[in-house]
């Protein structure tokens, strides 16, 4: 106690998606790098305004799916044709046809896990603690308010400069967020 708290960044509150979209364009044009927009739902056009590139989640899905299909085929070949071959009704010990339905399901299963895990990993989630989650005003982000946060470790960060930028961009309220 007594020691001044480290500052995480500046939080600005907006009322409408249009206002926050407009402000995001200005923050981006001002050249900030460590900042983010927080909204109750994905706002259309925000990725473009913030300059976010296409999400790479698809690679995780693809890897999961390819792994699933290979696992299915390999597993069935190993079990029914290699490790313990049993002749059933004169059918071949292994065929891509009867191995297809289970392998197809495993493609989807592993692909789905890849997607979810990839999404969480890219977002650095799960996270049990975050400076923003302590902020009382920020709780409105899941209700009906829109926020922009510029972090204090951004190279262009100065408290006064950031405040001025966000106020000029039309926010309703600005406050400091402690680490």
């Amino acid at each position: 106690m007594g020691e001044p708290q480290k500052i995480y960044g500046v939080l600005a509150e907006f009322d409408t998606p249009a206002a926050v979209l407009h402000a995001a364009t200005q923050v981006r044009n001002a050249g900030f790098r460590r900042w983010d927009v927080f909204t109750p739902f994905p706002v259309h056009g925000m990725d473009h305004a913030m300059g976010i590139k296409n999400s790479p989640v698809g690679w995780f899905t693809f890897l999961g799916g390819a792994l699933g299909y290979a696992t299915g085929n390999l597993m069935i070949w190993y079990m029914n044709a290699y490790n313990y071959p049993i002749l059933v009704g004169g059918k071949p010990f292994f065929s891509g046809f009867f191995a297809f339905p289970p392998s197809y399901e495993l493609t989807i299963l592993f692909g789905a896990f890849g997607t979810l895990i990839g999404m969480l990993a890219l977002n650095r989630l799960p996270r049990l603690h975050h400076p923003l989650l302590k902020n009382r005003r920020f709780k409105q982000v899941t209700h009906d308010k829109f926020f922009i946060v510029i972090e204090s470790d951004d190279p262009k960060y100065t408290e006064a400069g950031v405040r001025e930028l966000l106020e000029k961009a039309g926010c309703r309220h600005v406050e400091l967020v402690e680490e």
């Binding site: 998606p17 999400s55 899905t61 339905p101 979810l116 799960p126």
Partner: protein
């Protein structure tokens, strides 16, 4: 070549569409974003209403009956059901296929309608996905308990054991194990991913420490960051893309259980699409059965509007008609195929001792849903509710007709018989209905039963290019 000075004049405004082409809003009465949160989350907050206690008392009593019946079955043997030569599969597999089919509407609504950009799905997808998960749980129970020795059910799984005997992958029954378990797992993942932002809503509204901790834990620290939304939306799209072929494959593989066999009445190529259409038909029937009363009881008429109910009725009508076409085509092929056994099987189905089941099926699945052609019927909630129950009954009979009539009349007269259920058969089925309703009632009291975030996202005030979303100058920000 020098560029001519071209000034491209873009109009600042476009003409508003004529009134008759304007679409009715998906959330009625211009509700605000906050109102949507308060009303949907409110269902899972505060004290439970009286009707909820009455409903859960009844459903958990039914569930308990089912637990007793399954205990009796496992401790005694499958003989307590009416199974006997030649019908060795009856209500258990009927119930399995019926429940799995019901699950399909959830994935159709959450995945296929998402890919088709049907924005009305946001009001119903959460509840339909929950219904899917609970229906698949009920379905999964039946193959397990009908094995006779359920303590050996792990033989179905590819687990290495000391005697190195593996599952036999040339059997469609083994494919089914993979299809159903994948379906359950992927539905759960999809449902949970959709819930993450809504669990954050619940966390931020929580009044007690316990709710804060539990919702907070499962919300995984979601903060609504746009950098997160970007990955999240892509992942959601990909999961929808994965679930679409999944939902089509699951009931196809279920139908392989029958179609790959050699029995007349089962050995037909129409089964996969016919089963999938039937599954969606019965699933929409169940969604209507659940949501038509709930929208009134939970006062959510502005979110699950009459238009939503109408659209669901139209899907039911379309899939019911496809099912009707399949019934007709089965008969045509039985005659046109020139196979005497096949034709005999179908004559037996419609005019044999099971005629009552067959004609119940035709009435409930083909004839009565035709009433949905009329707007008066589609907008009358009582009529929709009754017809949705009719659809559920009809689809149960469809599965029963397919399974029991074929087994009761095989090639030689030595394999002829008639199936009569016992009380245990009936009460086990009642038990799974109790289990399903109990799980659904618990779901709607503890989790947001409508996707709060997604409903907010389709309102005009969520669109930054709409005046209600704060846009000025005709939408140019």
């Amino acid at each position: 070549m020098a560029e001519a000075a071209v000034t491209i004049s873009t109009p600042v405004r476009v003409e508003a569409p004529p009134r008759e082409l304007e679409r009715p809003p998906l959330v009625q009465n211009n509700r605000s974003l906050g109102w949507i949160s308060d009303h949907i989350a409110g269902v899972a907050e505060g004290r439970a209403p009286l009707w909820w206690w009455v409903a859960i008392s009844i459903s958990s009593a039914m569930f308990l009956v089912g637990v007793v019946m399954v205990t009796y079955l496992i401790s005694t043997g499958v003989g307590v059901w009416g199974l006997n030569h030649p019908v060795m599969w009856a209500w258990d597999i009927t119930n399995f296929v019926w429940w799995i089919g019901i699950g399909h509407a959830g994935t159709l609504i959450s995945a296929i309608l998402f890919l088709l950009r049907q924005r009305w799905r946001t009001s119903i997808n959460r509840a339909a996905e929950a219904m899917t998960i609970f229906a698949v749980m009920c379905a999964g129970l039946f193959p397990l308990i009908h094995t006779g020795r359920p303590w050996l059910a792990w033989w179905l799984l590819p687990i290495p054991t000391s005697n190195n005997i593996w599952p036999q992958f040339r059997s469609p029954l083994e494919w089914d194990v993979f299809a159903v378990s994948t379906y359950f797992t992927v539905s759960l993942l999809f449902w949970y991913m959709g819930l993450i932002p809504d669990l954050a809503v619940m966390r931020d509204r929580a009044k007690t420490k316990l709710r804060q901790i539990l919702y907070g834990l499962f919300a995984l620290g979601w903060r609504g960051s746009n950098r997160h939304w970007s990955n999240y939306e892509k992942a959601y799209l990909l999961l929808a893309g994965l679930s679409t072929p999944l939902v089509l494959s699951v009931h196809s593989i279920v139908s392989f259980d029958f179609a790959v066999s050699q029995l007349p009445g089962w050995h037909t190529t129409i089964f996969p699409p016919y089963f999938v259409a039937g599954a969606i038909f019965s699933g929409f029937g169940m969604v209507l059965t659940l949501l038509v009363p709930l929208r009134t009881l939970c006062k959510l008429e502005d979110i699950i509007t009459v238009r939503h109910v109408e659209l669901m009725c139209k899907v039911t009508l379309a899939t019911g008609t496809i099912v009707g076409y399949a019934y007709g085509m089965e008969f045509f092929i039985a005659w046109y195929g020139g196979n005497a056994y096949e034709l005999e099987a179908f004559k037996y189905r419609a005019f044999g001792p099971y005629w009552w089941a067959y004609w119940t099926m035709i009435t409930c699945n083909v004839v009565l849903p035709q009433l949905f052609w009329f707007k008066k019927v589609r907008t009358n909630m009582l009529a929709v509710f009754i017809l949705s129950i009719v659809v559920n009954i009809g689809m149960w009979f469809e599965r029963f007709v397919i399974i029991a009539t074929t087994l009761a009349r095989e090639f030689t007269p030595a394999n002829w018989g008639y199936f009569t259920p016992t009380a245990v058969d009936v009460l086990t089925f009642v038990g799974t209905i109790g289990m399903f309703l109990t799980l659904f009632l618990l779901f709607m009291r503890y989790l947001p039963m409508i996707a709060i975030t997604e409903v907010k996202g389709i309102t005009p005030q969520a669109d930054p290019h709409h005046p209600l979303g704060g846009a000025r100058h005709g939408g140019h920000v």
